[in-house]
Structures are given as structure tokens and as C-alpha cells.
């Protein structure tokens, strides 16, 4: 798999980290300006709707990263490629932090909107389960020392945890929940106004850049660990 040549990836990731950081800060600044100053209030929720611009992108990205980790874990079982394991492992920390942000900002948004910080509603509960799967995945890497065992265990955690992803997505349709149904649809017209959609897209782009930046730094860290072990074997 020439595409997954570690040396090439290391050189590329090292080179582009700085640019991604600068680009992330730029996009985040524009996103914050749009989210806090330029976007309109909601006719029902007033200014509290602005929490959406950090809550929704965090939730999207945490779901996206976990799906990616699960997909890579399936590929690990098929191809036994060591680099895919490192890629999956390097995405997990930012995925966990985005899940935490989605849960906490959701709770903060819940208080003025629903009058409660927490409810065992289907969407919130399944997001909490996702957070626990991320935690198990990250802890497994710390607890188990045998390389083969840890790869199998973390892959299994991510594949089993992936069952939760469609449940999170469709929970608002399957059950009566406090959450409203999706306002943004890929295949049909979205019900969100474009004045609110624009900051949402910009913030999502900024958060995606941040997760990419963390991934690159984490990937390089993992690669250096491997190379340090390699030096000891020379």
C-alpha cells in the first residue's frame, strides 16, 4: 500500500501542520464573527440559538470520526495494515473531545430551551453512549500492553460502537424526543434559513480543520514512538 507509506505521510503531515493551524484560526475567527455577531436571533429561541454553532458541528464531527474509526477498524481486520491502526488511534482524541463538547454545550442549550440541564431523551442518551465508547477505545489503548490484543479489542469496541451511530442519527425520527427532527438534509431542502446555515457551515469547517490538525500531530507522535523503538532494535 504505497498510499500508506509512513515516511511520505510523516513528511507531508509535518510540512502542512503549520498551514492547517493558521487556516483553522482564520476560519474559526470568521465563524465566531458570523455566529456571535452577524447571524440573526431565532424567532422562538432568541439569542440562545447561537449555541447551535458549536453544538451541532461538534456532534456531526464526533459522529463522523467514530464512523471513520469503525471503518478503518474493519479494514484493519481485512488488510492487517499497521498504518490504518495508527490512523484510527490518532483520530480518537479529537473525536472524544467533540463528543464531550456536544454533550456539555447541549446541556447548556437545554436549560434556557427546555428548562432542564439534562434529560434521558433518546438523542442525548445515545450521544452519551457514544462518549462512553470513545472512552473505552482510548482507555483500551492505555490498559492493554500486548499489541495484538489491543488492536483486536479497540477494533471490536469501534465496530460494536458503530451500531450506535445510525441510532443517534434516526433517534429523533424513531422516538418522541426533546430534540427536533433534522433541519439540514442532504437529499432534500433544508428548513434552516441560509443566514443561519452559513455560520453553521463555517464553524463545521473550522472544527473539521481542528480535528485534522490534532490528527496530524497525534499521528506524528505515534510514528515517532514506533521509530524510537526501531532505533533500540538497530
Amino acid at each position: 500500500m504505497g498510499l500508506f507509506n509512513q515516511s511520505k505521510i510523516f513528511l507531508l503531515t509535518n510540512k502542512y501542520q503549520k498551514f492547517i493551524l493558521i487556516f483553522f484560526l482564520l476560519v474559526l475567527s470568521v465563524g465566531l464573527l458570523e455566529a456571535l455577531f452577524l447571524s440573526p436571533q431565532d424567532y422562538l429561541q432568541g439569542d440562545s440559538v447561537r449555541i447551535m454553532y458549536v453544538h451541532v458541528p461538534s456532534a456531526w464531527i464526533s459522529l463522523g470520526i467514530f464512523s471513520l474509526i469503525a471503518f478503518l477498524s474493519i479494514l484493519v481486520f481485512i488488510f492487517k495494515n499497521r498504518n490504518l491502526i495508527i490512523i484510527a488511534k490518532s483520530f480518537a482524541p479529537s473525536g472524544f473531545v467533540f463528543t464531550l463538547i456536544a454533550l456539555v454545550t447541549g446541556s447548556i442549550w437545554g436549560k434556557p430551551t427546555w428548562g432542564t440541564w439534562w434529560a434521558w431523551d433518546a438523542r442525548i442518551t445515545t450521544m452519551l453512549i457514544l462518549g462512553l465508547f470513545y472512552l473505552m477505545y482510548l482507555l483500551a489503548w492505555r490498559i492493554f500492553e500486548d499489541r495484538n490484543s489491543v488492536v483486536k479489542i479497540t477494533s471490536l469496541i469501534s465496530i460494536i460502537g458503530a451500531i450506535n451511530i445510525p441510532i443517534i442519527k434516526f433517534s429523533v425520527d424513531w422516538w418522541n424526543t426533546l430534540h427536533q427532527p433534522s433541519s439540514i438534509k442532504i437529499l432534500s431542502d433544508s428548513s434552516i434559513h441560509e443566514a443561519m446555515l452559513l455560520p453553521l457551515i463555517i464553524m463545521t469547517a473550522a472544527f473539521a480543520l481542528f480535528s485534522l490538525l490534532i490528527f496530524l500531530m497525534k499521528y506524528n507522535t505515534e510514528l515517532i514512538k514506533i521509530k524510537t523503538k526501531g532505533l533500540n532494535r538497530l
Binding site: Q6, S7, F10, L11, N14, Q17, K18, L21, L32, A35, L36, F37, Q41, G46, D47, S48, R50, I51, V54, H55, S58, P93, S94, V97, L100, I101, V104, T105, I108, W109, K111, P112, F210, L213, I214, M217, K218, N220, T221, L223, I224, K225, K227, T228, L231, N232, L234
Partner: protein, 77 residues
């Protein structure tokens, strides 16, 4: 005007708490991962310095090893 902005019709405490929590988490994660990266780079450099001339020559044949030694997170360490 600034007070109105901060107050956000009574929702300011919720809105800014959510944004500040997000940004603190970003900064925290970034600095943790950055310090881990630097620590591993230093560990690598320390192990590399222990190699004898022949082994160092062998290790230097790999571009990735040279790159690790040359670059810090964004600068030379």
C-alpha cells in the same frame, strides 16, 4: 452596546459558557497533543544520540529519522 451584546437578552451566560467551554477544550487538547509530540521527539533524539557511528549511519538512511531530528512541532528543537 457592549453590555447588550454580552447580555444577549438574558441568554449571554448560556451562549458564552458554551463558546468558552468549546475554546478551552480546543486549547487544552492542542497543548496536550503538542507536548506529547515534543516529548516523543526529545525521547527519539536522546535514543539517537546513544547510537554508535555505524548504527547512526544506518538510522540516517531513513528520511523519516532525519525529519524527526530536524523538526520540532513547527520548529527545530
Amino acid at each position: 452596546m457592549i453590555i447588550n451584546f454580552i447580555n444577549m437578552n438574558g441568554y449571554g451566560i448560556y451562549v458564552f459558557s458554551a463558546f468558552i467551554f468549546t475554546l478551552i477544550n480546543f486549547a487544552g487538547l492542542y497543548f496536550i497533543v503538542r507536548s506529547q509530540l515534543k516529548k516523543e521527539q526529545q525521547k527519539f533524539a536522546k535514543e539517537f544520540s546513544k547510537l554508535d557511528e555505524q548504527k547512526a549511519f544506518e538510522a540516517n538512511k531513513q528520511n523519516i529519522n532525519k525529519e524527526i531530528l530536524l523538526t520540532g512541532t513547527f520548529s527545530k528543537t
